[in-house]
Symmetry: C2
Subunit: 314 residues, 2 copies
């Protein structure tokens, strides 16, 4: 395969580029370096099957020219705003970086007769369902963050490109993903705050939010598995580490791994951590398990490994 | 109420403006006259509670200035591309006229502290479900037209504005709507073609597509009912005339009402009429019935009345 990874210098994108090169693929990595960094992909540069171009996916002239010059046959579209909280401060970023980039990538693909696309979606499309273990066909999807709305809007267009224009579309709805190179999220946040002030940890919300976490390298295995094996279109999958982990457990693990046991950890009374947060969700993972997906780490193990990797301990 | 009706000079918008004025409301009607016409709202001009401004909803300067100058408290956002087939020829129109207008209206409302919005959605968000009588919470929504994708994307953002910013959002998913001033659709199409050539009628598809039709004035009653009575947010409703009507029945009724009985009506072998068409769907109407909605005409009666009105017979 000749592959375009959009957002390829980001947290998840850089791990994906790595795995694709290891598997012998030729990879064009495009990133505007808004959240990504060249540092993330420096090691990929050792391969002559890796090409990096810095531009924004809304720069359609650059995008068209890339498709024209290369024989790209498959796109992994990971370029997006990945910080849900940031999207409630700056309203434009989810619309532009997540939704409109998807629209422009789809239109450019159609123009250049490229019709295979993987898309990184999210549990945030569902909003706060209150349901236990929802599967891929669950509905209705009623997002409560601009991040979730942009992902759902993108899924709507991907559905049409699958059904109307014959695209092979794979959608994986990510859970909370953790690991080295992460740029935000609860693990990243706690470590950053404790480095600033190791005397105490203040937690947003009551710490009882329970969610499934997945280690980034397990996520990349899930992505590659569905692109290899799923033949329906749109092929939609959920993936998460087994079990759920509370924010309190994460706080304790971070404090423990940083050697700060005994410091005060302070909680608030509110349930959700911030506006647009969904305090509880749980995927039914049986569909991707049927494809053969077995993550190396369960949810709580994934968090601990991510903490250790981020601290450079492993 | 002081009301903004976007797309107010269009087919459905003009009937809505009429009813709002009759009920004593003050109405600002905005339309870019892309599908609408001043002819449609000429009679509304007799009321000094009716104001018409011609501009595009993506002209945010004009939109902001309108909110600033008026005390508008409620928006009926009907501006959209309403021609599904046209959207598969010109890919930009659903994105711009339907989705991005909704996004810009929501952002302008937030800036000017206006938080009540009615949105005209569509059964097209669901795609071809193959299901019988789906209710408002049905999922997943997998559209198969760019029109449906744009409506679903708009619904996603409306959900967030309801949940994150406290907007009162009403969504009515329209069925096939028929009546005088319609600019496209099967009734309009058959009449136009038979006026051009009364010797025969060629039908796209096999004519077995079965859908529920609603007369435009019944639809306006449904809109006003949910805005008056529904208090949840987003409040989502379906409405359609009772029963289903096939394209064959519509063809026969048009031929009959035009006095052309006996001319050949020619069908094709394909099931759907055109790319992106959903050949069968049926709403569960019980939720809006519980609010007290009783349409005057069932589906097939609605079609006949629309034919008669369009021909100027009634």
């Amino acid at each position: 395969m000749k592959i375009l990874v959009t957002g390829g210098a980001g947290f998840i994108g850089s791990h994906l580029c790595e795995s694709l090169i290891e598997r012998g693929q030729e990879v064009w990595c495009v990133d505007n370096l808004y959240l990504g960094s060249e540092e993330n992909i420096r090691h990929c540069g050792n391969s002559d099957r890796f090409h990096f171009e810095k531009f924004d996916m809304l720069d359609t002239a650059r995008l068209n020219s890339l498709f024209k010059q290369s024989d790209i046959d498959t796109v992994f579209h990971l370029a997006a705003n990945s910080d849900i909280q940031q999207g409630s401060v700056n309203h434009e970023i989810d619309l532009k970086l997540t939704f409109l980039t998807t629209y422009e990538v789809l239109q450019a693909m159609r123009r250049h007769k490229v019709s295979r696309i993987f898309f990184s979606s999210s549990s945030a499309i569902f909003g706060d369902t209150g349901k236990n273990k929802f599967h891929e066909d669950f509905g209705p999807a009623r997002p409560c963050s601009l991040y979730g709305a942009a992902k759902l809007a993108a899924e709507a267009y991907l559905s049409v490109f699958a059904k109307m224009f014959g695209f092979q579309v794979w959608i994986l709805r990510f859970p909370n993903v953790v690991g080295e190179r992460s740029t935000h999220g609860v693990v990243h946040d706690f470590i950053r705050r404790l480095k600033e002030n190791p005397a105490r940890l203040e937690v947003l919300g009551n710490g009882l939010q329970r969610k499934p976490y997945l280690y980034v390298k397990d996520l990349v295995q899930a992505i590659l598995l569905i692109v290899e094996k799923a033949k329906d279109s749109p092929a939609i999958y959920h993936a998460a580490g087994e079990g759920l982990t509370t924010v309190r457990e994460i706080a304790e693990m971070v404090v423990d791994e940083m050697g700060l046991k005994g410091i005060p950890v302070l909680y608030q009374s509110a349930n959700g951590g911030w506006v647009g947060d969904v305090p509880f969700y749980q995927y039914d993972n049986s569909k991707i398990a049927d494809l053969g997906f077995k993550p190396k780490y369960n949810s709580t193990e994934a968090v601990r490994v991510a903490i250790q990797k981020t601290l450079g301990k492993k």
